[in-house]
């Protein structure tokens, strides 16, 4: 009897773990309603988190669905891919004949470069990567140093107390360095007297910690608190709404939830960029190496500041005058000189 129960428990555990934790879902178009030339092309996407996080991973998932709808290619995706099973996942998709494998985080770059050497016919695309290689790995980014700078500039511009804050996680990764380093630059470029504070959390999904960090900043006098987090971003936005402090959102939903506090959100709309990348891959024109989309990139804009259909920034806070200054001081500066990069030291936490 005891053995029977023990076996039953073991089977239940394995079954639930496979169903629940694995989260390896795949979705393939059946090909019947797609163009014959495109349906041969197969694209796989690896997401580091869950496809419904309303943030980074969902951008990737939505973009893949756009590729599927517009180009009619066969797609598959895996969620919650960790660095432990990444190499195996890459090899699996490559062996199954996927023509392009997209990794939706810069953290996958090193392993993608390693595995790519064994599958020279496969194109590897690393989103938010920073180097790529010379053969078949293309790293793509949305120029975080451009929108990070823009956020910092605007935070400093709209602050009444002269104190602004930024909450993020994953110190030391390439994207974070560029984002936080440029945010700090932007704050000081707008007004050298503005005091900025950067706090790194241990986890970009821990909502309760993010709430406490935001409360701490507000009690220290910050009246603009920005963030770059996944699920935890919700905690920052909630606190800013409760305390009447300006923040940024991640989507139109956040603007609708706190229309007075949210200044804007970065609409990355990875869809057109994914479509562009897959088209380039299909025609064989995709170049290996590093490629970024920023302000005014003709193929597809890297990001679009969005408040609502008519406004890029909250019109009750950001006046026409400020927008004009933003255009000359930020946009035109980056259009003239788009590339920048920051080190971990430049992106260090603390008050500056």
């Amino acid at each position: 009897m005891k053995k029977f129960f023990a076996m039953l428990l073991a089977i239940c555990m394995v079954a639930v773990m496979l169903v629940g934790c694995g989260d390896t879902a795949s979705s393939s178009s059946n090909g019947s309603d797609t163009q014959s030339n495109a349906s041969d092309y197969k694209v796989a996407l690896l997401l580091p988190g869950s496809a419904n996080d309303k943030s980074w991973n969902q951008y990737g998932y939505d973009a893949l669905m756009k590729v599927k709808d517009e180009l009619g290619v066969e797609v598959a995706y895996s969620e919650n891919v960790t660095n432990v099973d990444l190499q195996q996942a890459l090899r699996d998709y490559a062996s199954q004949g996927y023509d392009m494998i997209i990794g939706h985080t810069g953290g996958f770059e090193d392993d993608m470069i390693k595995v790519s050497a064994d599958f020279l016919d496969t194109k590897f695309v690393c989103i938010a990567g920073s180097t790529g290689n010379d053969v078949n790995v293309t790293s793509v980014d949305t120029a975080p140093w451009q929108y990070g700078y823009a956020y910092g500039w605007m935070a400093s511009q709209v602050s009444q107390t002269g104190k602004v804050g930024y909450i993020t996680a994953n110190e030391g990764t390439g994207t974070q360095n560029n984002l936080v380093g440029s945010w700090k630059d932007g704050v000081k470029a707008n007004n050298p007297d503005t005091q900025g504070t950067v706090v790194y959390l241990s986890d970009s999904d821990d909502v309760a910690s993010a709430r406490e960090a935001a409360l701490a900043m507000i009690s220290a006098g910050c009246d603009v608190v920005m963030h770059e987090l996944n699920r935890a971003a919700q905690g920052v936005i909630d606190v800013c709404k409760e305390k009447g402090v300006y923040t940024i959102g991640r989507s139109a939903e956040d603007v609708a939830a706190a229309p007075d506090q949210v200044l804007t959100y970065c609409n990355f709309d990875w869809g057109p960029k994914y479509v562009y990348l897959v088209e380039q891959g299909m025609s064989g024109a995709l170049e290996p190496g590093f490629l970024f989309f920023g302000f005014n990139t003709p193929e597809a804009p890297g990001f679009t500041f969005t408040y609502d259909d008519a406004n890029g920034w909250n019109p009750n806070v950001v006046s026409e005058e400020i927008l004009a200054k933003f255009k000359t001081d930020v946009e035109e500066m980056f259009i003239a000189d788009p590339a920048r990069s920051y080190t971990t030291e430049q992106a260090a936490g603390g008050t500056f």
């Binding site: 428990l9 309303k54 706090v199 909502v207 309760a208 699920r231 909630d238 260090a348 603390g350």
Partner: protein, 307 residues
């Protein structure tokens, strides 16, 4: 250092500490009776999930909390059926339960809400207690909190009293120390142990409800994020005494808040990863200072078969 800063620091500490304290109280009960409470994280997850689902379904925070607690209690009852009655390895069962709950809550969340995620719910608002909240310093810090926080304040002495002053508490400690001796005195060892394990589930479920309803105001995947484990450690540091465990929970809360405040200090050239270690460093120092003399209940984790 202004008064405002101190008040803000301490009320932040209490917010962070309350879920950890609730878990720690639960763990005290389970482990004092000799049952490992490795599943605390899992109970917390299911408690948080069900409390959010039921709050959305019924529109009542009260029913949300009740069902959250019931769900966690039910999971701990299943655990105790295996661990206490069938003698399965308690550590393995508890760990397995954590995986099951993480998978189950994530999968159900997808099933109910697809890729849009769990909707927001209204937060449980702080209730100011008249007179008491006017006490300078302590007032706004302790007596301007949501209802479950007040219940937690009350549960600490109650849990202590039941464990050390009541007959059932004596039985519970007896089965944790020497089950065969307790058995000869006519105590039903398996029943006492499984009730203790279920009490642990009740506390953890409430901890999950506090986290989800009072703080996050929704459910997100892996919402507990290690808090169940911190509760488990707090109980150990507190010597499985509810008052000590609550104290350890407060220290963990304070070190988490201190970690955030340290990062905000001007221009300290220390990597955030080093500062983020602070709560765990505090845990280590605890072990060195007071953990040495701690002895766990003698029969902890040992299956007792009635002769």
């Amino acid at each position: 250092m202004s008064v405002d800063f101190v008040v803000e620091f301490l009320s932040s500490t209490i917010r962070i500490a309350v879920p950890i304290i609730l878990i720690a109280l639960g763990v005290c009960y389970s482990e004092k009776a000799g049952v490992h409470a490795m599943g605390a994280e899992g109970y917390m997850l299911i408690g948080a999930f069900v409390s959010v689902v039921m709050t959305i379904a019924t529109g009542s925070h009260f029913l949300g909390v009740v069902f959250g607690i019931l769900a966690a209690a039910l999971s701990s009852a299943v655990f105790s059926a295996f661990a206490v009655y069938l003698g399965a390895n308690q550590v393995i069962c508890g760990l397995g339960l954590n995986f099951i709950m993480l998978g189950l809550t994530s999968a159900l969340q997808r099933l109910f809400w697809g890729t849009t995620g769990v909707p927001r719910i209204e937060a449980m608002n702080p209730i100011e207690i008249p007179v008491l909240s006017d006490i300078p310093l302590i007032g706004p810090m302790l007596f301007d909190q949501p209802i479950l926080t007040y219940i937690t304040y009350l549960l600490i002495p109650v849990a202590w009293w039941i464990m050390f002053k009541s007959t059932w508490g004596l039985q519970l400690r007896a089965v944790g120390e020497n089950p065969s001796c307790a058995d000869t005195l006519g105590i039903n060892v398996a029943r006492t142990r499984s009730i203790s394990a279920i009490v642990c589930g009740v506390f953890c479920g409430m901890g999950g409800a506090v986290l989800a309803l009072q703080q996050v105001q929704s459910f997100t995947e892996n919402i507990s994020n290690g808090r169940g484990w911190l509760g488990l450690i707090a109980a150990t540091f507190g010597g499985w005494n509810p008052v000590g465990a609550a104290g350890a929970g407060l220290v963990f809360g304070a070190s988490e808040v201190l970690q955030l405040r340290l990062q905000m200090l001007g221009n300290i050239q220390i990597s955030s990863y080093v500062i983020l270690m602070l709560p765990y460093l505090v845990a280590l120092v605890f072990i060195l200072l007071i953990g040495k003399g701690r002895r766990h209940p003698a029969a902890m984790g040992k299956y007792y078969r009635k002769q």
